[in-house]
């Protein structure tokens, strides 16, 4: 037997005679697709090629009626061939399915190749994944793995079948199983979930926006589930997913009491600008504004709650309208910003803030994008300092599911909102795009969208309103192709609390992709032309 290193994936047999000692003929079967381990005299193969008739072998013994062919067989089938009395000469390649420790060395069939293009891309750019040099109709599993900034492992997998030419391509072929099914070119990216055994309640959010995520995509043979043990990797490719285009500048902002991060595109400018607001999860998230800066907008991610550099305790709301006005003006006054081309994008409570800021006297944004947020607030954003409502004090409208996960949805039902907190929507003078995830469990998005639409209509301002509504999408409609979660850890103190965001993976991913493209077009229209 030749030495045993795994190299490639098909077996070459040189059959010395088509007539066995028992006088039986050996027939090459019709191709019936790849079926390793097939019993019986037939060889199942995607492509049985009769290469040539050899007349003389290396050892000098002549062939008689020799036919050499290339086929895909398992060890078991070959044993049957021996039993049937065939002499088989080995110069073997690897096997489609090796059995245990038996591996075959090849210097014939090349190893499969997995490609991804582009290898380095922005997180909102699609990647084209292809495999070739596989055996025809070979079943494969693609597995994607990456580590978050915190070191948590996220992964996904999908089952594909190569075509007659041994090629598969994610932009045109369907997944037949795994983390997603159907034709989903970016499915491996958005369907990633925390790997089993990891920490509870994870959500993927890029903290260090200046370094990319590295996603390693591997090609495994057969239709397997990667989490079950070490499986045989045929090929792998690493791709980098970036939140910043080259030379986007990141600047910490701690001035005039404003806590934020400014992301500035490369180039001389001037540029239109965006104020970027997230929800009551607090902190300072830069990953959306980094992408917006990569598209040519000076973007300011603004912290307003739950950040150590903000005044007051982290669980209190301590800033008012003057804070947001100052942040908006910071953008307008920036030397590289066109001061009358500043918009606002907000998700969840950030959506409320966007609407509210747009009605502050003297503040005139060019447009607003509001995602899944309320028109009012259970805690007031006042002009005075020292707002002291404790976030958790308004638990009247919290609901819990069977597993004790909190559903915030009813908190933002218009009927439950303090009337004097509701934004004076009829005063809005700029275009507003409101994006609804119809399966939003964290905010009553549909009802709030209806309210905005109605109020604007009464004020004769319907032309300002654009609504996007996505069935099956949840609360966290974020830039596309990133993994989404239906629930995640909301707080750990005073007790561990997981919140339900809603959304189902495939429709949520589709919503993110569509919404992001429409958001970018909206900004082009309203901020650049």
């Amino acid at each position: 037997m030749p030495s045993l290193t795994r190299e490639a994936h098909c077996c070459h047999l040189v059959v010395e005679s088509v007539r066995s000692s028992a006088g039986r003929s050996f027939f090459l079967s019709e191709t019936r697709g790849f079926l390793p381990g097939l019993e019986g005299p037939a060889l199942a193969s995607g492509s049985v090629e009769i290469l040539t008739k050899i007349h003389k072998r290396k050892t000098g013994r002549p062939f008689r009626d020799g036919i050499m062919f290339r086929a895909h067989v398992s060890v078991r089938t070959m044993r049957q061939l021996f039993k049937a009395g065939f002499r088989v000469d080995w110069e073997l390649a690897g096997l489609q399915r090796h059995t245990g420790a038996v591996r075959w060395k090849s210097n014939t069939r090349p190893a499969p190749v997995l490609t991804a293009a582009p290898l380095r891309s922005l997180v909102d750019e699609p990647v084209s994944i292809r495999g070739h040099l596989l055996p025809p109709r070979c079943p494969v599993t693609l597995c994607a793995r990456m580590h978050s900034d915190e070191g948590d492992l996220w992964e996904s997998f999908a089952h594909y079948n190569a075509n007659e030419s041994g090629v598969f391509c994610l932009t045109s072929d369907p997944s037949v199983g795994g983390s997603y099914v159907g034709c989903q070119p970016m499915g491996l990216f958005w369907s990633m979930q925390p790997a089993p055994g990891g920490r509870e309640g994870l959500r993927l959010r890029k903290k260090n926006v200046e370094a990319p995520f590295t996603v390693r995509i591997s090609l495994l043979e057969g239709h397997v589930s990667p989490s079950r043990g070490q499986l045989n990797e045929l090929a792998a490719v690493s791709t980098e997913r970036w939140y910043v285009a080259p030379e986007v500048k990141r600047i910490d902002i701690r001035q005039n009491g404003i806590v934020g991060t400014l992301l500035v595109p490369p180039g001389p400018g001037p540029f239109p600008a965006l104020l970027d607001l997230w929800g009551m999860g607090g902190g300072l998230l830069e990953y959306r504004s980094s992408l917006l800066a990569s598209k040519g907008y000076v973007s300011l991610s603004l912290a307003y709650f739950g950040h150590k550099d903000l005044p007051g305790p982290p669980d209190r709301f301590t800033v008012g309208d003057s804070y947001f006005k100052a942040a908006f003006q910071l953008l307008q006054d920036h030397p590289q910003v066109v001061s009358d081309r500043v918009g606002i994008i907000g998700l969840s409570f950030g959506s409320y803030l966007a609407l509210r800021i747009a009605t502050i006297p003297g503040v005139k944004p060019s447009c607003l994008v509001c995602i899944n947020g309320p028109v009012g607030s259970t805690w007031s954003v006042t002009d005075s300092d020292g707002m002291t409502e404790h976030f958790d004090s308004f638990q009247n409208y919290w609901n819990f599911d069977d597993e004790g996960r909190v559903i915030f949805k009813e908190v933002s039902l218009p009927a439950n909102l303090p009337p004097d907190s509701i934004v004076q929507l009829e005063k809005l003078d700029c275009p507003v795009m409101y994006i609804v995830g119809e399966d939003d469990l964290s905010a009553s998005s549909i009802e709030n969208a209806d309210l905005i639409e109605e109020r604007l209509r009464s004020a004769g301002k319907s032309h300002l309103f654009t609504r996007l509504s996505y069935p099956g999408a949840g609360h966290l409609i974020e830039p596309p192709y990133s993994p989404s979660v239906r629930s995640s850890m909301w707080s750990v103190k005073p007790k561990k609390l997981i919140t339900l965001w809603g959304g189902h993976p495939a429709p949520h991913a589709a919503a993110q992709e569509d919404a992001w493209n429409k958001i970018l077009d909206y900004f082009e229209e309203n901020l650049r032309s």
């Binding site: 210097n107 792998a236 980098e240 080259p246 030379e247 180039g267 001389p268």
Partner: protein
């Protein structure tokens, strides 16, 4: 006239992060319709020198320019040239003479600033604010490629392993008479799935310490090191040499009992060398012929005559008739440094006489010079060269006309990759006269 500063002109380059041999699309949008625009690329090298290129366009009715489709009417290139901004890069005015762009640190990308200006400018770019600008990264290493310095077995080398489980075919990568350990081509080949080891053989540790040149066993050691690496397919080895590296490659492919290559690629080199010696004797042979050196009126050194006329004495040439693996020869017909074309013709004739010319693939490019490098890297017709033996610095004339040389680089690289893939990844053992060796 006061230009109104708009914020709507956008300039995009896709991909903004690409491999050095990948194409990109440069797009200007929302400029004034039918207006004159200049697109300029600026790059500052690791050594601090600046290179630039520029091209003159007219925006269409929508105010757009697409460099891949539109025609440049002036600048450092003209016509429809998707990658012209890179391959036509030249040292900025006022730079010192004889510069050559070579990436030393392959772990970091080459960063190019691409800007668009109003009007058709040819100078004074520093005095005018561009309408828009972006930064583009050009990488020699794909994500996941590993760079491993090698000092075992007395070698001075760097190994680049492709990403993935492997194992991979192996390739020894050699440069020419300037010495040093030049890594960028090896990094790029690894990004294409070949475990590639760049080998310093002129200024390696052994030579620097002993003052003597390496012999054949140095390269055999390098071959064996690569071959036995757990991520390398021992039966799928190749060698690639440029200039003096060609001399070594041909010698090893034909004469060494140890090195068994699936294929070899020789760029801008020759088979002429004294067969009763090795590297030292080859360099001495050049030195003895140095009287044939010519000079241009600008004192650029032309060395192409040193090995001419092609000797008929077989002891002065590698007998390529004995070659048993496919060979790709890449030749610039305007090579002023080596008599590459004449050597290639002689090699071809030798192989035809010996009956192994089916192994030869000859790529010959009119008006291409000596330094046929990976595509889209700028062409220089002459540059400062430090001779390894004499330690003298002079201006070597490499030859080539920028446009044709750049086309040659692009075409040769593509064919070189196909050649390597076919022979290193391919099915049937190449050159085998019977299929029994499968």
């Amino acid at each position: 006239m006061m230009e109104e500063k708009q914020c709507c002109v956008t300039l995009s380059v896709q991909p903004s992060r690409g491999l050095v041999d990948e194409k990109f699309i440069v797009l200007v949008q929302n400029a004034l319709p039918s207006s004159q625009l200049t697109i300029r690329a600026l790059h500052q090298c690791e050594d601090g020198h600046s290179w630039h290129s520029f091209a003159h366009y007219t925006s269409d009715a929508t105010g757009a320019v697409n460099v891949s489709e539109d025609c440049s009417v002036g600048g450092t290139y003209t016509g429809v040239e998707a990658m012209g901004l890179l391959w036509s890069l030249k040292p900025v005015p006022g730079s010192k003479a004889g510069l050559r762009m070579r990436k030393k640190n392959v772990l970091a990308p080459m960063v190019v600033t691409i800007s668009v200006y109003q009007g058709h400018l040819s100078e004074g770019f520093g005095n005018q604010e561009p309408l828009a600008g972006v930064e583009v990264e050009r990488w020699y290493m794909a994500p996941g490629v590993r760079r491993i310095p090698v000092t075992e077995d007395g070698l001075t080398a760097t190994l680049f392993l492709p990403s993935g489980p492997g194992p991979f075919p192996g390739l020894l990568d050699l440069w020419g008479g300037g010495g040093q350990l030049v890594e960028y081509r090896a990094a790029l080949l690894a990004s294409h799935g070949i475990a590639t080891m760049a080998l310093d053989y002129l200024t390696c540790k052994y030579t620097m310490e002993t003052g003597t040149f390496v012999k054949q066993d140095y390269f055999e050691t390098a071959y064996k090191f690569l071959q036995k690496h757990p991520k390398v397919l021992s039966s799928r080895m190749a060698m690639l040499g440029l200039s003096l590296g060609t001399s070594i490659t041909l010698r090893m492919a034909v004469c060494s009992e140890v090195t068994k290559f699936r294929c070899a690629v020789c760029i801008s080199g020759s088979h002429i060398q004294p067969m009763d010696g090795f590297l030292k004797e080859t360099l001495d042979y050049f030195f003895r012929n140095s009287g044939k050196t010519r000079f241009t009126k600008d004192d650029e050194v032309i060395w192409r005559d040193l090995l001419l006329p092609i000797p008929s004495d077989p002891s002065l040439k590698v007998d390529v008739g004995k070659l048993q693996c496919p060979l790709m020869l890449i030749v610039g017909e305007d090579d002023q440094n080596w008599c590459t074309y004449e050597s290639a013709m002689d090699m071809k004739a030798m192989m035809e006489r010996a009956g192994n010319s089916h192994l030869l693939t000859l790529l010959s490019y009119p008006n291409a010079g000596h330094l046929i490098e990976p595509p889209y890297t700028p062409h220089v017709r002459a540059s400062v060269f430090r001779d390894v033996q004499s330690r003298q610095k002079l201006m070597a004339l490499w030859g080539g006309q920028t446009l044709e040389h750049s086309r040659a680089q692009e075409d040769a690289w593509r064919k070189l990759l196909v050649f390597l893939r076919t022979n290193l990844y391919g099915g049937v053992k190449p050159g085998a006269s019977s299929l029994s060796n499968l």
